[in-house]
Every structure is written in structure tokens, then in C-alpha cells.
Symmetry: none
Subunit: 206 residues, 4 copies
DNA sequence: AATGAATGAGCGTTCATTCAT
DNA sequence: TATGAATGAACGCTCATTCAT
């Protein structure tokens, strides 16, 4: 971050505009994909000039990084609110259902493949992504341990990895406008069953 | 199949040159991502001029489509060879292990996120991808039915969808240079167990 | 006079800040050349914002002009101190040696070619440069006349022109990091000899 | 040089255009200075599009390098033709006169300060410049040795350095539109006299 | 089957400058 | 005095594409 941008956003006007840019950038990424993501298009969508956009984000990479973190923050905020009422098992099923159902939304369906692709090619993106999934798995592992306190920390983390990865994979098949979208409820059912069986009766490696 | 320009001499004319271009294009996609994929770079890697490249593939989209199909064909060929010896259950576990272990390779790790992303934005890509997964699921569903003949066609296909999606999701976590690569064997173990349980004892929606 | 931001605390306000900017601008010119000289870089180096820099120097040309004069003033100040002790001939040799040796320094080596180039393209620079060389020649002509009072004013000025021009030319060859830097002493020797011969025995046009 | 440009200029049309670009680029450099030298302006002057310009010179640095070498080659060609008739001493005076008089021309007056400045900041320019002056000095040293065969190789080279540097310095004072242009003949006179004296009677360091 | 030449659009970035605060 | 915000122009460069050879 350039020194000259240190106190950018000091005025409310600037802060609002910055957030607006991030929203607009996210929309463009989701609508067009990263390979069609350009500063000119972001600027146009935001109703400002390219020069001004680059006043807020001196380099494209700065905007991309900030935008991804902006979206990721939304998901992280969701994780904190995710634990509801009922027994641990009920909570677990509720989480699974929430997360899988979320895949149906356009934002989730399109955003994550872009993130996965980007993280394979752009240094600096990987860390944000890994942090997010790390936090996600921690929430899962916590509930898993409450369901079966006999598991070790390592085992519950291993299960959390398996569950979260399995769920992510469905993005491609039951997401927004995806062919198996109508199978969402069945996926939730199969996932809940098999995940709970693994937690309670499976021989979890460890 | 030679992968790179190392065997350039082997691609002298016609179909060979075409295949050489496709190989080189795939390598570029995997090394740099689609947002860095350009005809100029492909031409340079292939040791020919842009004009000549466009003799073989008149438009960029033609090359991209052909290249994706080229790679997908490799995977489809693998599916046909995948069924080995032993009981259906042993075959199933072998398949799961093969497919999950394959995620560790650079090609698979990087290629699929690009494909998923592209299929969200470029018409014409989606069909190739869907066909591939369709064929993949058919192989799985076949074995599933052999393990538990009591399941309906629909149920076995549903399970195949769930299994394949779950496996794909691990690309992001246990793939080439991914942080949980060392968990691959444990993932195979948890997947095999829970998948088999679902096939044999689960209440598969139907 | 402190050269860089090291003593930034010393430049708190008003004239100090102005001088600090001028120092920093000179350093940038010398380090990067005029074609890489921008207000943004000066501002950053000076630890202030572009807006503030333009409070002191409303237009880029104002800063450039002031900066060049700032450096030129340093050289003019040197000229006033240049005349030392001894006979006129000893003084002359001392001056030649001082000036030629000064070419070895980075500041002189790099600054003057920038000045020469600029004076060819930017109106308003030429005058400052001409004034400086005028003053320089006056000092030389004065000593020349003392060595050979038989010369006319015109002749001594003509010699001063020839001597100063000859010396300036060595900037490109014996300057900072230049290939013939180690010849500096020999150049001083040849220059002193031939210049003195011209003053005393040559047929100076006039 | 990019591989894809290997056989550019294979057609006569391309070769002509390349030379035209170089001429136009030199004119722009001389008219406007390097800090106003842009690919867009070169393209416009050449009557082509920027894209086409960059087909011939993939990077700005390639154009600049080629253009400088193009101009330098002209001067080098002059050096080869410079030696005329008469005694070595007559030849020497003729060379001095030729070279100094050449400073009066706009091309020489403006081109060299740009070259000197550039060579201080852009790697790759320095070598071309050094090579040119090296060749220049070789011609001078040759004649010097013929005038006074008693000098060593080293001494004649040292004199050549001193003479050439001294002459170059006059660019700034007697060049095109420079204030002392009318002194050119007198400079030739003083230079010839003092240089010959140094060759024949001076104590050349060595 | 292959290259040379050219175009036009778009890219990320830098810049001098203006103006409100 | 000094910063934040914004503009408009220009920059070097990459690109897909077209066409003549």
C-alpha cells in the first residue's frame, strides 16, 4: 500500500465510495468472471473515472485483494451467526442445510470457482482463501466434537475438512442455474446422514 | 503422448501439429490460468506464428473449446479403464482411491477450477463439462447398483452425484501444492467408509 | 545542508520545507533523469502529498525552474570561493584542477547533461544555464588576464569560452562511473599545460 | 528481441517502413527531447498506428536503441571518410575543423545531449555510446601518432581522449542556436593550435 | 500451410492539475 | 498549510483479428 494512500477514506464520502467500488467490483466479477474483470469496467459501473478508481486502489491487485476480502468477510460473518438452537446434532444438520442451500445463490455459485482459480495463479489470494476455510472448519469441528466428545481434536478437524470439501464440490452441480439444482434437498439429506454416521459410528483415521 | 515442445520434431504436419498446439495450450492454461491465456503465448510456446495458429483455429474460442475437449477426452478415456478386478465393493473403493489420488496432480488441481470458472461465463463450455461429469456418474452409478441391487436407477444416480461432487470439492484442499495434501489417504478412507455405508445402509432419497 | 529526508524533522515549515522539496527534487533528477521526474515522486520522497507540493510550486515548470536554479546557485557559490593563493598561474591551475575533479562527483556528472538537454527543449531553462556559464567564464577570464595582461578583454573571454567548454566536455568521459575516470589527473595535466601555453604563447584570435 | 520478430523486415515493404520509423523517431527526439518522446507521437509522425509500430519494435526500449544506433551509424560512417589529403598535420586540422563545425548543425547540437543524458539512466544505451566514442578516438589517435611517432600508443590515446572530450563540450556553446555560434572559427583556431602544440611539444603523461 | 504486415480496441498505470475541505 | 477527492489525457503494451503474400 503506497504511503500516499495512508489516510485515504478519511472523509465519509471517500469511505462510502470505496465500499461502493467494492460492491460493484464483486458484481462484475460474478457477472463476467475474472478474465473479463477490468478497471475500466469497474469504474464505469461505479460511475467514476478510471483515474479516480486508481486513487482508491493504486493497482488492480489491490482492488482484487480488497474485493475478495470484502466478499469473504461476508461469509465469515455468516459463520459466526450460524450456530442456532437445539441439540448439537440438530445444530449440525442446520449448518449443513444452510451451507448447502447457500450454494444455490448466484453469488456463491459463481464467486467461489473464481476464487479457486485465482488462488492457483495469483500469490496473495491464496492466504485469504485459506484463512476463510480455516475459520469455517473450526466452526464445524467444534460442533462435531460436541456430538461425539470421544473424538480427538485431530479427528474432528479431519472430519471438518472432509465435510467442508465435500460440500464445496456441490457448487458446480447444484448451484445457480446448474443442472442438479433441484436435487439440493436430497443432497442435504444424504450429506447429513452420512456425515453424522461418520461422526458417531465411523472409524475416523487418527 | 508427448507433452511439450521437447518432441516438437514429432509434430510435423496436419493432425500432429494440431495436437501439439492443443498440448501446448493446455500447458499454458494450467501454468498461467485462463486470464493469462492468449493466442500469442500459445503460438510462441508452439514455435509457430500467430497467423499460422489461426489457420488451425480461426478464433480464440475455437482453440479454447478444442483444448478443453482435448483434456476432457483424456479423463473420459481414464473412466473406461477404471473398472478393475474383485468384488463390486472392492472396485468401488479402488475407483474412489484412484479419483481422489488423481486430485494431487498439478494438471487436475489446476485444470478443473479453470473449467468450472469458464463454464460459468462462456456458453459452449458448459456442455462439454456436463457431458464429462455425466459419463463419470454413469460409471459410478453402475458400480453402486452392483453393490446394492435394491436401489433404483434414480437412487444410484443420486448417490453418484453426491459422491462425485464430494470428491471434486477436495481439489481445492488436497490438490497439488494444497495445504491438506498429506491428508489424501485419510480422505480416501473417510470417503470410502461413508459412501459405502450410504449405499448399503443409508436411506437414500427416492 | 542536509540532502535527504533523513533530516526531515529539520524542515518544519515555510522556507525550510521549500528547500527540502528542492533538495529532494534535485536528488530525484540526478537519480532518475528528467524523463522520470514527476511531482508525485518528488512529493513521496519529500514525505508530503501532491496537493501540498503544488501549494509551494503551482505548476511542474515552477518546481523544475526553482530546482535548477537551486542547484546552479550551489555552483555559483563555489565560483566565488574558487580563487585561492599563489601566483595567477598557480591559481589558474588550481581552478582547472578543482573544476575537472568536480566532474567525478555523481551530482555534477548527472546533473549537467540533464541541464543541457533540458535547455534545448524548455524555454526558460536556457537563461539560467547561460547566466551560470557567463559567471563561470568571467572568473576564468579574470585570471587569464592576470597571467597575460597583454591579452584584450575579448581575447581572454574567448579563451575562457574555449577552456570552459573543453572542460565541460569531459563530464561524459571522466565523470561518476564513467570509463575514463582514472584518467582525471592526466586530463588535468594536459589541460593545464595546453591552456597555459595558449594564454602565454598562442596566437589567440582577436 | 522476441522470437516472433525473427524474420520481420523480410519483405521490402517492411524494411522500408522500419527505416522510415527510425528516421521519424530521430526527428522527434531532436525536435522534442527524450522526455517528450512517445510511441504515439512516433507512430503519428510515421503515419501508422501504434500497434503497427510495436510490431516493428516490440518495446519502446527496442525502438530507442535501434534509433540511437541508427544515428550513431551515420556518425561512424563519417569517421571512415574523414581522413583527407595532405600531411598528417593538415589532415588533423581538417578533422578538427570538420568535427567542430559539425556541432553547429541542429542534429548534432540536440542529439548528443539527449544521448549523454540517456546513457546516464538507461542501461544498454551506454554501450552504444561508448563504442562510438571509442571508434572516434581510434581515428584521432592514428593521426596523432603519424604527426609525432615518438608518442606511445597510450599517449596518443590519452591525447585523443582529451581532444575529443574538449570538442564535445563545445556542443553546448557553439551549437545550433547557441549564443557563441559565431565563435566557431575561433574555436577551431584555438583548438588546432593548442592540440598540435600538445602533440608535438607537450609533456604528455605516460 | 505458413509468415509478414496492419488494425483497432482495450488494458493497467502514471501524470499534472483542479478544487473542496 | 495541508490533505482528500476527482478529472482527463496520455502513456507503453497486449491482444484478437484480418488480409496479402
Amino acid at each position: 500500500m503506497a504511503k500516499t494512500q495512508a489516510s485515504q477514506g478519511a472523509y465519509k464520502k471517500g469511505k462510502d465510495r470505496r465500499n461502493h467500488i467494492l460492491d460493484v467490483a464483486r458484481d462484475l466479477l460474478i457477472d463476467s468472471g475474472y478474465h473479463n474483470f477490468s478497471l475500466r469496467k469497474v469504474a464505469e459501473k461505479a460511475g467514476i473515472r478510471v483515474g479516480n478508481l486508481q486513487y482508491y486502489f493504486p493497482a488492480k491487485s489491490d482492488l482484487v485483494k480488497a474485493m475478495l476480502d470484502h466478499v469473504i468477510d461476508d461469509y465469515l460473518a455468516d459463520f459466526d451467526d450460524i450456530r442456532g438452537h437445539g441439540t448439537p446434532e440438530e445444530q449440525f444438520v442446520a449448518v449443513i442445510e444452510d451451507v448447502i442451500t447457500d450454494l444455490n445463490g448466484k453469488k456463491t455459485t459463481v464467486f467461489f470457482p473464481e476464487l479457486w482459480s485465482l488462488s492457483n495463479h495469483e500469490k496473495g489470494i491464496t492466504r485469504s482463501m485459506d484463512n476463510m476455510y480455516q475459520r469455517y472448519r473450526e466452526v464445524l469441528a467444534e460442533i462435531i466434537l460436541e456430538i461425539n466428545p470421544g473424538l480427538s481434536q485431530e479427528q474432528s478437524q479431519r472430519l471438518a475438512l472432509f465435510f467442508s470439501a465435500s460440500i464445496e464440490g456441490h457448487t458446480i452441480f447444484i448451484g445457480y442455474r446448474k443442472p442438479w439444482r433441484k436435487e439440493t434437498a436430497n443432497i442435504v439429506d444424504m450429506a447429513s446422514q452420512s456425515f453424522l454416521w461418520l461422526i458417531k459410528d465411523g472409524r475416523v483415521p487418527g
